[in-house]
C-alpha cells in the first residue's frame, strides 16, 4: 500500500571466501533511506565481512551490491569506475570503525580531521571549513575549545565522537558502523548511543551497524539480521527478533544475555 523510494542499498547473494574459507555466504538484504539495520552475531560469524563487502572495502567472491546513486540510479558498487567509487566513499558514505585510530588521522588536529573530508569534496574557504568543524564538534557534544588539539590527547569516547563528526560532515546518506561503542566504558557508551540515535533520526540517515551487543542493537536498529557461521539465520523487526526469536541460534543468543 505504500509507494516510496527504492532501497538505498541492495545486497544480493553476497559471498566471500578467504582462501577457500567462507567469511559470509549468500547474504541478501536491502537498506532503505532513514533505516537503521543491525547485524548481530558472535565473533567470527561474518558480520564484519558483510559490512566490508557492502561498503566497497572488500570485493565479494560472488554476489552483487547495488547502491542508489544520487544522479544515475542504482549502480553496482564494484562495477563503477574507481574515481566514482572513491567519491561515494568520501561523500555519500561514512564508515565508523570500532577503533577510532583506524578512522582518524592521529597526527593532525581535531578540526583538521573534520575539515579534511570537506576539502576532499572541494571545500576551500578556510573560514567556512573551520566553522563547519566547530559546528560538528558541538553536535557531537565535544568542547569546541579542543578544536586545535591532536586526537591523541582525547579519551576513547571523545575520539569516537570525533570520528563520527568527521564522517557526518559531508552529509552522507548511509553510515556503516563496526561495533561503534565496543571499546568504550558503559557510561560513555550510553551517551554515545543517545547521540547516534539522535543524529540518525534528525538527519534521516540510513545506517548499518555491526554489534555483538543486543542491547545496543535494540536501541539503535529498526531491523536486525542474525548471523552465524557466515550465514543469515534470522531477520526481522528488531523487537520481533529479540522478543520472539525463531531460530535456535537466535534463541540461544537472546537467552544468554545477562540483565543487570
Amino acid at each position: 500500500m505504500m509507494q516510496e523510494a527504492p532501497p538505498l542499498l541492495s545486497a544480493r547473494g553476497v559471498t566471500k571466501f578467504y582462501e577457500g574459507i567462507p567469511g559470509c555466504r549468500d547474504v541478501s538484504f536491502e537498506v532503505w533511506p532513514g533505516e537503521v539495520l543491525g547485524i548481530v552475531g558472535e565473533s567470527g560469524s561474518g558480520k564484519t565481512t558483510v559490512l566490508n563487502c557492502i561498503s566497497a572495502r572488500l570485493e565479494p567472491t560472488s554476489g552483487t551490491v547495488e547502491y542508489a546513486t544520487r544522479h544515475d540510479g542504482p549502480a553496482d558498487i564494484y562495477r563503477m569506475s574507481e574515481p566514482a567509487r572513491r567519491l561515494l566513499m568520501r561523500t555519500d558514505w561514512g564508515f565508523v570503525h570500532q577503533n577510532p585510530r583506524e578512522g582518524l588521522r592521529m597526527g593532525v588536529s581535531a578540526g583538521a580531521n573534520i575539515g579534511e573530508r570537506l576539502m576532499a569534496v572541494g571545500a576551500r574557504h578556510y573560514g567556512n571549513i573551520r566553522q563547519a568543524a566547530n559546528d560538528w564538534l558541538d553536535k557531537v557534544e565535544m568542547d569546541t575549545g579542543r578544536m586545535d588539539d591532536l586526537p591523541i590527547t582525547f579519551s576513547g569516547g571523545m575520539q569516537q565522537r570525533l570520528q563520527i563528526a568527521r564522517n557526518l560532515v559531508t552529509a552522507p546518506r548511509i553510515v556503516f558502523m563496526d561495533e561503534p561503542t565496543g571499546n568504550l566504558d558503559v557510561s560513555v557508551q550510553a551517551r554515545l548511543l543517545d547521540l547516534l540515535r539522535g543524529l540518525v533520526t534528525d538527519l534521516g540517515l540510513a545506517a548499518v551497524i555491526v554489534t555483538h551487543d543486543l542491547a545496543v542493537a535494540r536501541l539503535l536498529s529498526h531491523r536486525l539480521l542474525v548471523m552465524r557461521r557466515g550465514k543469515v539465520v534470522e531477520s526481522g523487526l528488531t523487537d520481533q527478533v529479540l522478543d520472539d526469536p525463531q531460530h535456535p541460534y537466535s534463541q540461544l543468543l537472546v537467552s544468554s544475555v545477562i540483565h543487570p
Binding site: M1, M2, W32, E35, A190, R191, L193, D194, R197, T201, R218, L219, H222, R223, G236, L237, D239, Q240, D243, D244, Q246, H247, P248, Q251, L252, S255
Partner: protein
C-alpha cells in the same frame, strides 16, 4: 464500517529449541474484533496468552497462522504479513502499546522519551516537548524529574513515563498490558480517566486489566481466553 482491529484464526506457538524443542501452543484459532470507541478487556488466568494477543497485534510476536487486520490510514494492514517498514508506520501513527516494561536509552530525559512519540510523527520538537511535559504532569511526575533519565525512577514512576509515552499521542488503536499494575490509587484514577477519554474520542482499545475494579471501570466488553488445547 470495518472494525479497527479484526483478528481471524490467530494461532501462535513457541518452540523452545534450546530446551529440548518443547512446543507450547498458546493461541489456536483466536478471533477478536474491536470497534472504534470500544475498550475490550482480555480476561483469563496467567499464562493463557493475553499478552501474546497484544504482542501479535503489535507484531513484536510473529503469528503462526491467521490474519490481524488493523485499520491504518485509508486501508487495513495485516500485521501478521506486513513488511517491517509498514509495521513501523502502523506503530508510529496508529497503534500505541503500553507494555509492562519501560525500555529506553539510559541517559535520555523522561520528557524526551515521551516527546519522541510525537517527534516520530513529525511534530515540531518544541511543541512535542511541551505536550510531553503536560502529560507527565498529568500523570503526577513532578516537573523537577522531567529532565532526568527515568532509569533512576521508582517502578511506579517508570510505568507512568511508559503510559505518558503512549497517551501523549491520539493513537486510534491502544493496546494496554496491565497499565495500572504498579500504580497507587491516585495515579490509577488518572489512568482510568485517560483510557475513558481515549475511548471517548474514538480509540479502539484492547487491554489486560488484572484489577477487577479497573476492568469494571473501563471495559465496555470482556473477552475470556481459554487454553489453546481446549479451543481446538
Amino acid at each position: 464500517m470495518t472494525a479497527a482491529i479484526r483478528i481471524e484464526g490467530l494461532a501462535k506457538s513457541f518452540t523452545l529449541h534450546n530446551q529440548g524443542g518443547v512446543r507450547l501452543s498458546v493461541l489456536d484459532g483466536f478471533d477478536l474484533a474491536v470497534e472504534a470507541g470500544e475498550c475490550v478487556a482480555l480476561h483469563g488466568p496467567s499464562g493463557i496468552g493475553k499478552s501474546t494477543v497484544l504482542r501479535c497485534i503489535y507484531a513484536n510476536y510473529r503469528a503462526d497462522r491467521g490474519r490481524i487486520l488493523v485499520r491504518h490510514r485509508d486501508g487495513t494492514v495485516d500485521m501478521a504479513a506486513a513488511h517491517p517498514r509498514e509495521i513501523l508506520a502502523v506503530r508510529r501513527e496508529t497503534v500505541g502499546h503500553v507494555s509492562q516494561f519501560l525500555r529506553v536509552i539510559p541517559r535520555v530525559a523522561a520528557e524526551d522519551v515521551v516527546a519522541e512519540t510525537l517527534r516520530g510523527r513529525g511534530a515540531d520538537p518544541e511543541a512535542a516537548t511541551k505536550a510531553a511535559r503536560r502529560m507527565l504532569q498529568r500523570l503526577n511526575i513532578p516537573a523537577e524529574l522531567h529532565r532526568l533519565a527515568p532509569a533512576t525512577f521508582s517502578g511506579g514512576e517508570q510505568q507512568r513515563v511508559n503510559l505518558a509515552r503512549v497517551f501523549v499521542a491520539d493513537y486510534p488503536v491502544l493496546l494496554l498490558d496491565e497499565p495500572t499494575a504498579s500504580l497507587d490509587r491516585e495515579n490509577r484514577d488518572v489512568v482510568l480517566k485517560l483510557i475513558r477519554e481515549a475511548a471517548g474520542r474514538g480509540a479502539a482499545i484492547a487491554g489486560i486489566f488484572h484489577d477487577s475494579e479497573v476492568r469494571d471501570a473501563v471495559a465496555t466488553r470482556t473477552v475470556p481466553l481459554i487454553a489453546a488445547r481446549e479451543a481446538a
